[in-house]
Every structure is written in structure tokens, then in C-alpha cells.
């Protein structure tokens, strides 16, 4: 078959909802798009461990400490599945991680914001994991098999995290005045960055059309953002705290909430590396990786020695 026929075949499969598997033929751009997206996703899980990990030693009760540790550990697990999914596309984990450390690869900008109080752990679960789920549930039907399957596991755990985060917020909002203020402050700081997690408006989103045609993406950024606002607004009302958007109001005719425009300048600034914690996050990852190199080398050297001595025994 020539390339045109292969491409037609490939698109036919996609149109008929047949999953693409690692050994199937795929257009180079499809492979590159997936490598970019899945590795960014993996990096987001790993970098995302840092802002929440920041509160593990300070969690306010043993129950919360255990839940937070388990949650951050889940994120490490998600990183592992996703790095494995990237490997099915022919790129090794080390190479992917080096792209993160060199600044070549991106990760979700949300993790470039700091966690200042305990309420941030609640707000991240509620809003950031909430937004992530909205982005990720459609990915369980993504055309690329290994990514779709990884996402099924990821989404189950994310929805648990989301409920856990909301429950932290609820406890704060039903607590003392000071706790409620802490919750409001966290909502003020996380709301707009959470809305930006869906990416730029459809008109400014360079990859959307092609990704939708390939069924890597199923909904546009704006559709998902609207859905997020529709679901989250009543949840904020139930908590009794206010979303920091004067334009937010229910639109009876549309059956949706109207809401204000995020400050896209800030979004692009953070992507360019100017967010409050970009340098810190990347340095923390580089430090862990560089300071871990002697450990990885030792494990490798030991494994080699052991397999050599086993071979010797077999020869003898």
C-alpha cells in the first residue's frame, strides 16, 4: 500500500471507532501529537506531585495525612502508566524526562502556582482534579489504545481525589470563620488558573481541529470549560463561598452559566516560564533526577553483576 492508501485506511479505522494499537501503521504527525500530549500529561502528573507534596508534612490530621500521601502516590502511579504509554510510541522514559528537565517539554501550567495554605489542598482536589477529569474522561475513548486504557485507570482515581478535595473544602466551610476565610482565599487564587487548564479559546487553539479529526480529542476547549463552570458553580454555592467572577450568572435561555474571560496574558506568561513557581518546580525535578543518578547507576551496576554471576553459574 502507498502512503495515501495507508492514511485512508487509518482514517477509516478512526471514523469507525477502531482503536489504533502500537504496531499499527500511523501517520507520523499522529505519533508526534500523541508523544507530545501523553508525555506532557505524564510530566503534569509528576510535577503535580510537588505543590501537594508541599503539605504532606503539615497535613492537619493523621487521616488527612494518609489521604494526601496516597493521593500524591497515585499521581506518581499515573506518571508511570503514562510514561509507559509514551514508550509504546517509541520514546524511552529517560529521554522523555530529559525533555522535561531541559525545559523542552511542557506540563500543565496550573502546577506553577503555589500551595500557600491547607485550603489549597482542598481547592486543588476540587477544582484542578475536577477540571482534569473533564479533560480526561473523553480521553478514555481516545483513538490510541494504550492512552485510552491508561486513562480509564487514571480517571477512576481522579474522581476519588476530586471528591476528597471537595470534602476538605466542605469541612473548612462548615468550620470556624478563619477556616472559611482560608477556603475563600484558596478559591480566589485557584479559580482562574483552573479555567485556563482547558487551554486557550477554540479560535486560538492550534491543535484542536486535527486532534478532533483523529479522535484524540472529543470536545473543544470552550465546550469543556463551559461544562466545568456549569458543574462547579452550584458546588461553590453549596459551600457558601463565592467564585471571583462578577460576570458569573445563570443564563436561563442558554441553560448555561455566563462567565468572564480569563486573563489570557497571564496564561501565556506562565507558559513562557514566568509563573510564580516555574523555576522552583523545574529545579525540584532536576534536583531529584540529578541527585538520584548515583542511585540509578548503582542499581544498574548491581543488576549487571548479578546477571553475570548467574550466567557464570549456568556455564559452570
Amino acid at each position: 500500500m502507498n502512503t495515501t492508501e495507508l492514511e485512508r485506511d487509518f482514517q477509516n479505522k478512526i471514523d469507525n471507532e477502531i482503536r489504533i494499537e502500537p504496531k499499527d501503521w500511523m501517520p507520523d504527525n499522529y505519533r508526534q501529537t500523541l508523544i507530545r500530549q501523553i508525555s506532557q500529561h505524564a510530566h503534569s502528573e509528576i510535577v503535580g506531585m510537588l505543590p501537594e507534596g508541599n503539605w504532606i508534612t503539615r497535613a492537619p490530621s493523621l487521616r488527612r495525612k494518609v489521604a494526601l500521601l496516597a493521593k500524591v502516590q497515585d499521581e506518581a502511579g499515573h506518571g508511570l502508566y503514562l510514561y509507559s504509554a509514551t514508550e509504546t510510541l517509541g520514546i524511552e522514559r529517560d529521554e522523555t524526562i530529559e525533555d522535561l528537565n531541559s525545559g523542552k517539554a511542557k506540563y500543565s501550567s496550573i502546577f506553577n502556582y503555589p500551595t500557600l495554605t491547607w485550603a489549597d489542598i482542598g481547592a486543588i482536589g476540587w477544582l484542578v482534579d475536577g477540571a482534569a477529569i473533564m479533560n480526561q474522561v473523553p480521553l478514555c475513548r481516545c483513538s490510541y489504545g494504550p492512552y485510552a486504557r491508561a486513562m480509564v485507570r487514571v480517571c477512576k482515581e481522579e474522581s476519588f481525589h476530586q471528591r476528597q478535595g471537595y470534602e476538605i473544602m466542605l469541612t473548612l466551610c462548615r468550620g470556624s470563620e478563619a477556616q472559611k476565610n482560608m477556603a475563600q482565599d484558596a478559591l480566589n487564587r485557584w479559580w482562574w488558573p483552573a479555567l485556563m487548564m482547558f487551554g486557550p479559546s477554540d479560535s486560538d487553539s492550534p491543535h484542536t481541529a486535527q486532534s478532533m479529526k483523529w479522535k484524540i480529542k472529543r470536545f473543544t476547549n470552550d465546550e469543556l470549560r463551559q461544562k466545568f463552570v456549569d458543574i462547579t458553580s452550584p458546588q461553590a454555592d453549596f459551600l457558601g463561598i463565592s467564585i471571583p467572577d462578577d460576570n458569573l450568572k445563570w443564563n436561563e435561555d442558554e441553560g448555561h452559566y455566563d462567565f468572564g474571560e480569563p486573563a489570557w496574558e497571564e496564561f501565556y506568561d506562565v507558559i513562557r516560564g514566568n509563573g510564580p513557581c516555574n523555576a522552583e518546580r523545574l529545579n525540584a525535578r532536576k534536583k531529584a533526577y540529578n541527585e538520584g543518578s548515583w542511585v540509578r547507576e548503582a542499581a544498574l551496576a548491581y543488576a549487571k553483576k548479578k546477571s553475570n554471576s548467574e550466567n557464570l553459574v549456568q556455564v559452570a
Binding site: I46, M49, L50, G53, I56, T57, R58, A59, P60, S61, L62, R63, R64, K65, V66, L69, A70, V72, Q73, A76, G77, G79, L80, Y83, W118, I168, T171, L172, G175, S176, A178, Q179, A284, K287, A288, E291, G292, S293, W294, V295, R296, E297, A298, A299, L300, A301, Y302, K305
Partner: protein, 252 residues
């Protein structure tokens, strides 16, 4: 000291060991040398903090003053903590973390194993459950002693320095104090001096296989079990207890 007071102190000591070491391991979360080991350290932290919760809940029952696990973990000060000095020592690097874990896990295993014979049903049950987890911890830290000791020159040097530096914190594992004696008499606790030869044998054989030598130092630090700690513990508690102290009485 009544048997009840001794039992409270005995249970609290083990709860504090588990909590403080779990807290230290939690500091690694997100910063491990490789993703799989980041996950492994978090697993052990989760096990240890889980054990501390069972023990604090039991200690609160024994004390009978209506306290919760969090009251005991979050509202005592340094001198009231009875953990071993070893577990509060800083993570430093992966080698120190492994050396600390290796010494403690092997002790912890023998200690829980002895408590599975305890006349105290609750303590016996906690020990039985914990022993399954600690068996895995022993395997994990022993495997890493082997890899680091018999890995590269650098790893050998690093782990050698770590096991040597932390050696002086292992002596107090095996000192019976007034509380231990009361617990031995009541057949609740175990004679710690009796665990020492088994511990020495176990760690000796692993260190030998790892091409390392058992450190020769004879001077041993002690005091943890009496609430006399290193300066590190104050900072651990400052982090651990911050919210409970800053917002007294709040529910989280």
C-alpha cells in the same frame, strides 16, 4: 509507675517511632531518585503512619481521658515524644534514608514478632497485622543495602558513610528502661536485650553480602525513650503540628 501508665508509655513509644519515621519518609514524596522508589517510600510511610494510628488509638483507650489519635500526635511537645533518636534523623540523601530504614526495619520486625506473644490482646493484634507490612519493609531496605553496597564505588562509599554515621543511634533499641521492665513483668512487652543478638546477626549477614562491614563504633547515643531528643524533633513537630497549634480546636 502503674502498669497502665507503663503500657501507655510503651504504646506511645512505638506509635511515635512509626509516625516520626513515616513523616520523614513523607518528605521524599515527589523527590525520589526514581519514580518506582518514590512510590515505594510513600508505601512504607503509609504503612508506618497507619500503624501509628492504630497504636495512638489504643494508647488513648489505655489512658482513658477521652483523647483522640490526633490529640496524641498533634498536641504533645518534644519531651512527651518517646521515639528512638534514629527515626528523627534527617533524610540527607538516599543512602542515609536507606541506612536508617535498614537498621530500624530489622529492629521493628523483631520487636513486633516478640509482641505477637504479648499477653495484651490489642497489642498482639496490632503486632500481627504490622508484621506483614514490616516484612516487606525489611526486604526493601535490605535489597537497597545490597544494591548500594555492591553497586558502584560511589554508592559503596555513600552507604558505608551512612551506616557508620547512624550506627550510634542503634544502641538504644536494646536498652530496657523502667517502662520496659514493667512491661516484661506484666508479660505484655519483650526483653529488648534478647533481640540484640538476632538483630546483629541479621544486619551482619546483609552487610557482609553487600561487601560492607558492621561499623565498629562503641559509643551509643540514647535518650529518645525518655523524651530527650536531638534538635531535629522540634522542627519535625513544628511542621507536623502547625495547623492544630495555629487553629486550636478546629476540625479538619
Amino acid at each position: 509507675m502503674s502498669t497502665k501508665e507503663a503500657l501507655f508509655d510503651y504504646v506511645i513509644r512505638q506509635a511515635d517511632n512509626c509516625l516520626i519515621l513515616g513523616q520523614r519518609l513523607g518528605e521524599w514524596c515527589g523527590h525520589g531518585p526514581v519514580l518506582e522508589q518514590d512510590i515505594a517510600m510513600t508505601n512504607i510511610a503509609l504503612d508506618l503512619i497507619g500503624q501509628s494510628r492504630s497504636l495512638y488509638q489504643y494508647a488513648a483507650d489505655v489512658e482513658g481521658k477521652g483523647k483522640t489519635e490526633d490529640d496524641l500526635a498533634y498536641l504533645r511537645d518534644v519531651w512527651q515524644f518517646k521515639n528512638l533518636l534514629l527515626v528523627e534523623q534527617p533524610n540527607q540523601d538516599f543512602a542515609y534514608t536507606i541506612a536508617r530504614q535498614f537498621y530500624f526495619d530489622n529492629f521493628n520486625f523483631l520487636f513486633y514478632q516478640a509482641l505477637t506473644e504479648s499477653a495484651d490482646e490489642q497489642l498482639k493484634a496490632i503486632a500481627q497485622k504490622s508484621l506483614k507490612e514490616v516484612r516487606y519493609h525489611v526486604k526493601w531496605s535490605s535489597d537497597w543495602i545490597l544494591r548500594l553496597g555492591d553497586g558502584t564505588d560511589e554508592s559503596h562509599e555513600r552507604i558505608n558513610r551512612a551506616i557508620t554515621d547512624l550506627w550510634s543511634y542503634t544502641g538504644e533499641f536494646f536498652n530496657n528502661n523502667e517502662v520496659d521492665n514493667a512491661m516484661i513483668d506484666a508479660k505484655i512487652g519483650t526483653d529488648l536485650t534478647g533481640l540484640k543478638p538476632k538483630w546483629e546477626q541479621k544486619i551482619g549477614s546483609i552487610l557482609e553480602e553487600a561487601t560492607l562491614e558492621v561499623p565498629a563504633g562503641e559509643w551509643m547515643q540514647s535518650g529518645g525513650k525518655e523524651g530527650k531528643h536531638s534538635e531535629h524533633l522540634g522542627y519535625i513537630l513544628a511542621d507536623l503540628q502547625f495547623l492544630q497549634r495555629a487553629y486550636p480546636g478546629a476540625k479538619w
